[in-house]
Symmetry: C2
Subunit: 203 residues, 2 copies
């Protein structure tokens, strides 16, 4: 088994945190996006979409997409549980994982990719208006999230889950995109601090 | 239980097809996006993000996000299986569900939202350059998908899955976005025809 990882990118970090929470160690190869290693022939044969992470199993099966890689490890080692237990809990974990991905990570990535000078080579063309229109979407979602977290410890309820991993990575991504979370969002700040204090956050 | 549905939108259709494949019937309320019913107070109390679909359980629990709603029904009625069986299969279904969502549906939606005159009221501001840059991304992905489907019947292998539902809805969305799938993509065309012939496609 080999995990193709990228040290500085948000999506591969989701998998690293997930593995740290599970206590699973996997052999890793770093793919340097800055050197465009994800676009070379060797990596393109592993993932034609030229993105990291990717997990290659011993029989050659390739699993891409961060959440799909996490799902694989969850299936082979269910504990500690990170996808929820029972129909409602599993649906709520999926719901909040997706909400945090689609309404926090994705628009933050749009701001980052379309405004950061360091992304000029990777995001062609950079469109300033995309950054401008996505910034308020992130802030609007953070307000909804704050109200939600006022009534529960973690994104999907009482238990830590993969939704919180996506949330932590999304929150940490704000800085790169130069978005400041409004300081009055006390519940978001409390939640972010608690997630950041877990040993897995260092992954 | 009540499913808040929208007849003409791609995401709610994913849930309807999923339910048709499972043979599950759920009471439904239509939310008319054209009349901005998704933004009124009553619906905003159900889903603060003002999107459809949403499923409200008898105890008042609200599940949003199409795939999370499908996950709920899969958990309470596992057969017929649409999320894969076994660790590798479940990971590959998740991988292809996400690939079809993020690389077919999402950029197609970007083209549609940023170029269709009918979306001027819902996508503010429409940015023509977003439509232009996402159109080739859809076509690039369809080429990768065509190569993939040359070696297997369905998106995630031999068995029909939720990945194919996302694929069918994504393919049908191309027409609305005025994107033509290249006619030489024979495997994509064969797969799309087979999915379209299933009774569930009418949902």
């Amino acid at each position: 088994m080999m995990l193709y990882d990228t040290k500085v990118a948000p999506n591969p970090r989701r998998v690293r945190i997930f593995l740290a929470e599970k206590g699973i160690v996997v052999p890793t190869t770093n793919v340097d996006l800055g050197k465009l290693e994800h676009r070379d022939d060797a990596y393109s044969r592993i993932n034609a979409l030229q993105r990291t992470p990717a997990l290659v199993l011993d029989d050659g099966t390739v699993i891409t997409e961060s959440v799909a890689i996490c799902r694989y490890f969850d299936e082979i080692q269910p504990e500690p549980n990170l996808f929820g237990t029972g129909a409602v809990s599993r649906a709520l974990v999926e719901m909040w994982q997706r909400r945090l991905e689609l309404n926090l990570m994705l628009p933050t990535a749009q701001v980052f990719r379309h405004s950061h000078p360091g992304m000029a080579q990777l995001e062609v063309p950079q469109i300033a208006q995309v950054a401008e229109t996505n910034r308020p979407r992130v802030l609007d979602f953070l307000r909804v999230l704050d109200a939600h977290l006022g009534a529960r410890r973690f994104a999907a309820g009482d238990a830590f889950s993969i939704a919180d991993i996506t949330g932590l990575v999304g929150m940490d991504f704000l800085r790169l995109a130069r978005i400041q979370a409004p300081p009055d969002l006390a519940h978001v700040a409390r939640w972010h601090a608690e997630l950041s204090a877990r040993p897995s956050a260092a992954a």
